[in-house]
Structure formats: structure tokens, C-alpha cells
């Protein structure tokens, strides 16, 4: 039972080979593009590595880079094969190469599709990584004298200014931690002492946010301290007025940014996947059509090309069998020898 049989007269074979040669060079450029896109995504993720708790999301750009490099090799060989395809004398030397070549190519093409699926599936992982990373970043904001955390303040400030966001979920996250270092607090002042005594952990909590939360588009000069105190500012109502700090949380801003980036890259990689798939299908048709010509006197006869010789299940089993026997081989031999020893004396 052959899958997708098609007739190929000589002219059609020639056209197929020529079209495939052009297509494989386009696919080579597309493979290089995939590699570049993977590098781009990795660079963008590394730039914000300080606010990410783990690097699980890096599997997406890593896969893209591997697939890009592999497709360069796959398409190079595809163009070489279709160059030799029309020459009946040179084509047979590719015979033994083609079966593992198709297996490897299909594996990497499927991996490309997996990378796209992963970029959507890992949104949850990215979000929890950012949540933990930002929480730590905000907690260590004041530790500008602790080695290893000196630049936390600068990173968070620049992040908030660039992505136009404030805090983790929203600006109230800054109310829950002490973001002013003890070095800059006057412990002899009664106000400071009161605030510190007013909570269990002895932290100096204020209803204020750092300057990097300020929104430059607001018409009013930035109100960043005593946000919940209406009487501290003239003509100010905390509940009704549009605050002149950023209302969005940085986690949401970063997730939107990265998902947007991965969606754009995913769209590009999907089209590259379709291109690569069509290259492999055309190559398979060309190979089977040329194999029927081998050994015949007249190379210009009409032949048949097909995708798979047997059905899909049988082909899959055929490819998996070598792998399985390699793993199961030892068991089979041991069973056989045990059987022999038991039967021999008897």
C-alpha cells in the first residue's frame, strides 16, 4: 500500500529537480534566518536575566539555533542531491545516504514545529520566573552596598523607566517592602522610630514609590511619596485621581513584551517550517522517481514517484526497529542462550 503515488514523465522530473534546487537554496537562507532569530531571542532574554529566577525559557531560542544550523546542512545536501539527480550515472552513489538523511531531516523539521509550540506553552513558566525574579529584585533594591546586589537598584530603575511599569503586580508592591536603605534613615527621629515599631519585622515601610515609577506624560509634577495621604498634596484624591505614576505592573509588561516577540518569531519560523517541509517532500518524490530509472537503458521513461513505500505505521516501525533492537537486542540473545542451555541437556 503506497502513500501518494504520482506519475513523473521525464520533463516533469527535470522541472522538479530544477525547482527543488532553487527551493533548497531559499530554504538555506531561511535556515540562516532561523538561527539569527534564535540568537536575537536569546540576547533579549539574557538582557533581562537579572529579573528572571530561572532559565527554563531559554530552551526555545536554543532549539531554534540548533534547528537553524541543522537546516543549513540539510538544505546543502538537498541541493547537492538534486544536482546529481538528473544524471543517472551519479545518482546511485547517494543510495545508502538517503534513508538516514530523511530520518534526520524529519526529526529536525518536527523539532522546528515543537519550538513554536513550546514558545506558546512556556508562557506560564516565563510568568512564574518573572514573578520570583521581580520579587527578589524589589526586595534587594535597597542593598546597594551588598556585593552581588549592587546593581539591583539600577536594573530595576532602568527596567521601570523603559517598560513604563511599576512594581511586580502593581505599584502597591513597593508599600510592602523597605526600599530605602538604613544608611539613609535618621534613627534618632521619632517619625522613623514610630514607623519601624509599627510593624512586626521592624522595617521602615512607606506609602511611596521610587522615582522610576513616575510617568513623564502626566501633566502634574510627580507625586511619589505619601500616595495614600490626600491631605499631603494640594487638590489630590488618591481614589479618584489618575495617578502620575505608572499603573501597570512590570511582570505584565515583560510577559507581554516577550510573548509579542515570540509570536512574531513563531510566525516567521512557521513559514520556514512549511518551506522546509515542501523541500523534503519534493526531494522524496524526486528520489523515488529516479530510483525507478536506475539500471534501465532509456533514462527518459516515465516513472512513478511516491512518498512512502508502505503505510505510515509500517514505515514508522521500520525506522524504529533498529533503535528498538539495539535496546532489546541483549534481552533477545540472553533469552535465546538460556533457552539453549535448558534444552541442550534435555
Amino acid at each position: 500500500m503506497v502513500v501518494m503515488k504520482m506519475k513523473f514523465p521525464f520533463q516533469k522530473r527535470v522541472k522538479l529537480a530544477q525547482g527543488l534546487w532553487l527551493l533548497s537554496w531559499c530554504a538555506t537562507v531561511a535556515g540562516a534566518t532561523t538561527f539569527t532569530l534564535g540568537c536575537l531571542l536569546k540576547t533579549e532574554l539574557r538582557r533581562r536575566a537579572e529579573v528572571m529566577a530561572n532559565t527554563d525559557i531559554h530552551i526555545v531560542p536554543n532549539t531554534l539555533m540548533i534547528v537553524g544550523l541543522a537546516s543549513l546542512g540539510i538544505n546543502y545536501f538537498a541541493s547537492k542531491i538534486c544536482q546529481d539527480a538528473l544524471d543517472a550515472g551519479r545518482f546511485p552513489r547517494w543510495k545508502n545516504f538517503l534513508k538516514p538523511y530523511f530520518a534526520v531531516s524529519c526529526f529536525f523539521t518536527v523539532l522546528m514545529l515543537l519550538a513554536i509550540i513550546m514558545s506558546y506553552a512556556m508562557k506560564g513558566s516565563l510568568e512564574s520566573s518573572l514573578k520570583a525574579g521581580l520579587r527578589n529584585g524589589i526586595r534587594f533594591y535597597k542593598d546597594t552596598d551588598t556585593p552581588g546586589r549592587c546593581f539591583q537598584k539600577q536594573n530595576i530603575d532602568r527596567l521601570q523607566m523603559e517598560f513604563q511599569c511599576c512594581g511586580n503586580n502593581d505599584f502597591r508592591d513597593w508599600f510592602e517592602i523597605q526600599w530605602i536603605s538604613n544608611r539613609y534613615l535618621d534613627f534618632s527621629s521619632t517619625e522613623v522610630k514610630n514607623r519601624i515599631k509599627s510593624n512586626v519585622d521592624g522595617r521602615y515601610l512607606v506609602d511611596g514609590v521610587p522615582f522610576s515609577c513616575c510617568n513623564p506624560s502626566s501633566p502634574r509634577p510627580c507625586i511619589q511619596y505619601r500616595l495614600t495621604n490626600n491631605s499631603a498634596h494640594y487638590n489630590y484624591d488618591y481614589q479618584t485621581e489618575e495617578l502620575n505614576i505608572y499603573l501597570r505592573g512590570c511582570r505584565e509588561a515583560l510577559v507581554n513584551y516577550y510573548m509579542g516577540l515570540m509570536n512574531t518569531i513563531g510566525a516567521g519560523v512557521l513559514s520556514i517550517f512549511l518551506l522546509q517541509g515542501s523541500v523534503l517532500v519534493s526531494l522524496r518524490f524526486l528520489q523515488t522517481a529516479m530510483e525507478a530509472v536506475a539500471g534501465k537503458e532509456n533514462t527518459e521513461i516515465e516513472t512513478e514517484g511516491y512518498l512512502l513505500e508502505k503505510g505510515v505505521k509500517e514505515t514508522v516501525m521500520e525506522y524504529l526497529d533498529p533503535v528498538l533492537t539495539f535496546l532489546l537486542l541483549k534481552n533477545k540473545v540472553e533469552e535465546g542462550t538460556a533457552g539453549e542451555t535448558t534444552t541442550a541437556p534435555a
Binding site: T144, D145, C150, K153, Q154, D157, R158, M161, W179, I180, S181, R183, Y184, L185, D186, S189, P210, F211, S212, C214, P216, S217, P219, R220, P221, C222, Q224, H233, Y234, N235
Partner: protein, 341 residues
């Protein structure tokens, strides 16, 4: 005796033509780069026209765009000339166009030289426009309800954040203007009334700066209010301590950015004033002086100038003098009539 003459056989002529062809197409690419640089510079000027009082001169980017387009056209034509020069039929058709084309190239190089000079001289104009524009921007910072100035606050804040600067010369410029609008001042408050009455013009002046002056790299949370009051902040001495606002003035910062762009454009222009004209002159004279036009493999001589350098200069001068004397001959013509009578 020709100036800087060289002997050319067929091989050398072919190599010269090919090399020149490549050089011309490289020059076309450089022309495209110049065109895009002109557009980039124009966009950068428009982006910040608000802090330059909408008064900035677009002469340099406009000229640059024109030069880029001209350069593409001229060099593409030059490339076509080189390509056709080795075919005798096409060359004889092209011959009458050679001389005006080379004159045009010389004129174009003069334009490039003018543009280089402009790139370096217009920086003064940019500096002065910036100084004036920033002064006005700081003055109109608070007018977020006045039509036409609504976005001055936002533009100036974004400029200070992006260029890491504060004020015009330095942060003290903010002490001299009222940058908080009266809409947000409680005029019934005694402190406010004292401040407003304490100066002649009735402005609410403070020793504070806007939040956009804050330096994120500073280890301390930003101190932007009561900058000169040491007792207002714990462990703070404004004379000795490194302030956590930007030290640099915005005029200096924005000017260095624009002067960097203009200097690089000037350097690229100097690089493009290459000697294409010399190569083309050699090729055309080599083809013209072929002893036997039917035999393409004969030797020929190419030169830059037909006579020596001094003789050519003397020739030019005498031509200019005869042009001047043409008027004198007419005057001389009238006087014999007077003496005859």
C-alpha cells in the same frame, strides 16, 4: 608633453575599465548610504525640534539627501560609460558626452566639499538653537494646559532621561524658574505665600528639580527636593556629597550627540571625494589615442592633462584674460572715432 602619462596595452585597458566599473558601483552604494544618512539626520532633528524652538535649520540634511541622489545617478552613468568603453562602436557614441560628464563630476566634487564645510560649520548654529530652545523649554515646562505647549513637559522629561542630563547648563537652571504649575499650588498655605512674595515677579521658586533629573545609578533613593538644605535629609551635605541627580547640562549632552552625527557625516563625505575623475580621464585618453583604431590590441597612451601642469594653468589664465579683454576691445573701438575728428 602630457602630464602624468602612462602606457596602456589591451590587457591594462581592460583591467582599468573593470576596476573603474567596480569603483563606480561602490560609489553608488555609498550614495545610497549618504541618502539614508540624510533622512536619518532629518528625522533626528524633527524628533527634538520642540527643544530647539522649532527653529532648527534643515539645510545640511536636505543637501545630503540631494547629494545622495545625485551621486547615485552620476556614478551609475559613470559605470555604464566604463562598461561601454571597451566596445569601439558604443564608445564612439559615448565620446561627445564624456567632456560634459567630467565637468559635471568636478562640479559635484565641489558641492561635496561645500557640504563638508557646512557639516563642520553648522554645528555652531545647532549649539545656539539648542541654548535658546532649552531655555524656553524649561520656562514652559509647567504649561501643560496651554495649547501648543502641552507636551513640553513630556518632551523635556524624556530628553533628560534619555540623554542623562539636567537643566540647560546644569541643574541650577531649575532653581530659577517656576516649574510647578499654579494649579497644583495651595495659595492659602503660608509657606507657598512666603515663597511667592519673596521674589519680585511673584514666582514660586524652589531648590528642587523634576524627577527626570534623577540618576538611577546612584545608590541612594533620589533626593530631588530641598537640594541645598543639608538638614532636610539625613547624612547629606550638598557641597561635598556626590549628588544623585545628573551633573551634565542638556545643552552639552544633546549638542555632543548632534555634533557626533555631523562629524561622522563629514568624515564619510571626505572619504567619498575619491579620484573617480582621474581614472575616467586616463581611460578616455587611452582609448582616444589608439594608433590603429581597427586593431584593438595596439598600445596607447593615457594622461591626466594634455600639456604640462604649468602650461595648462597658463592656458587657463590666458583664456580668462582674453575674456576680460573682450570688453576692452569694444572700448578701444569707440576712441579712434573721437581722435579722428
Amino acid at each position: 608633453m602630457p602630464f602624468l602619462s602612462l602606457k596602456f596595452n589591451l590587457q591594462k585597458r581592460v583591467k582599468l575599465a573593470q576596476g573603474l566599473w567596480m569603483l563606480y558601483w561602490l560609489a553608488v552604494i555609498v550614495g545610497i548610504i549618504l541618502f539614508s544618512l540624510g533622512i536619518f539626520f532629518k528625522i533626528e532633528l524633527r524628533k527634538r525640534s520642540e527643544i530647539m524652538d522649532n527653529n532648527e535649520s534643515h539645510l545640511v540634511p536636505n543637501l545630503l539627501i540631494l547629494v545622495g541622489m545625485l551621486s547615485c545617478g552620476l556614478n551609475a552613468f559613470g559605470g555604464k560609460l566604463c562598461h561601454d568603453s571597451l566596445d569601439p562602436q558604443k564608445f564612439s557614441k559615448m565620446k561627445p558626452m564624456l567632456r560634459p560628464y567630467m565637468l559635471l563630476c568636478c562640479g559635484f566634487n565641489a558641492l561635496l566639499l561645500l557640504l563638508v564645510l557646512l557639516c563642520f560649520l553648522m554645528q555652531f548654529a545647532v549649539y545656539l538653537t539648542l541654548a535658546e530652545g532649552l531655555k524656553n523649554a524649561i520656562r514652559f515646562y509647567k504649561d501643560t494646559d496651554t495649547p501648543g505647549r502641552c507636551f513640553m513637559k513630556r518632551t523635556l522629561d524624556m530628553t533628560q532621561i534619555e540623554f542623562r542630563c539636567c537643566g540647560n547648563n546644569n541643574f541650577r537652571d531649575w532653581f530659577e524658574v517656576q516649574w510647578i504649575s499654579n494649579r497644583y499650588l495651595d495659595m492659602s498655605n503660608d509657606v507657598v505665600k512666603d515663597r511667592v512674595l519673596s521674589n519680585v515677579e511673584g514666582k514660586y521658586l524652589m531648590d528642587s528639580v523634576p524627577f527626570s533629573c534623577c540618576n538611577p545609578g546612584s545608590p541612594r533613593p533620589c533626593i530631588q527636593h530641598h537640594l541645598t538644605n543639608n538638614s532636610a535629609h539625613y547624612d547629606y551635605d550638598h557641597r561635598t556629597e556626590e549628588l544623585n541627580i545628573w551633573n551634565r547640562g542638556c545643552r552639552q549632552a544633546v549638542f555632543s550627540y548632534y555634533s557626533g552625527i555631523m562629524n561622522s557625516i563629514g568624515a564619510l563625505l571626505i572619504f567619498t571625494m575619491a579620484g573617480d575623475v582621474a581614472g575616467l580621464k586616463y581611460l578616455s585618453t587611452a582609448l582616444e589615442t589608439m594608433a590603429d583604431p581597427e586593431n584593438p590590441e595596439c598600445e596607447s597612451e593615457g594622461w591626466l592633462l594634455e600639456k604640462g601642469f604649468k602650461e595648462t594653468l597658463a592656458d587657463l589664465l590666458s583664456k580668462v584674460k582674453t575674456f576680460g579683454r573682450a570688453n576692452q576691445v569694444e572700448e578701444g573701438g569707440t576712441s579712434p572715432n573721437v581722435t579722428a575728428t
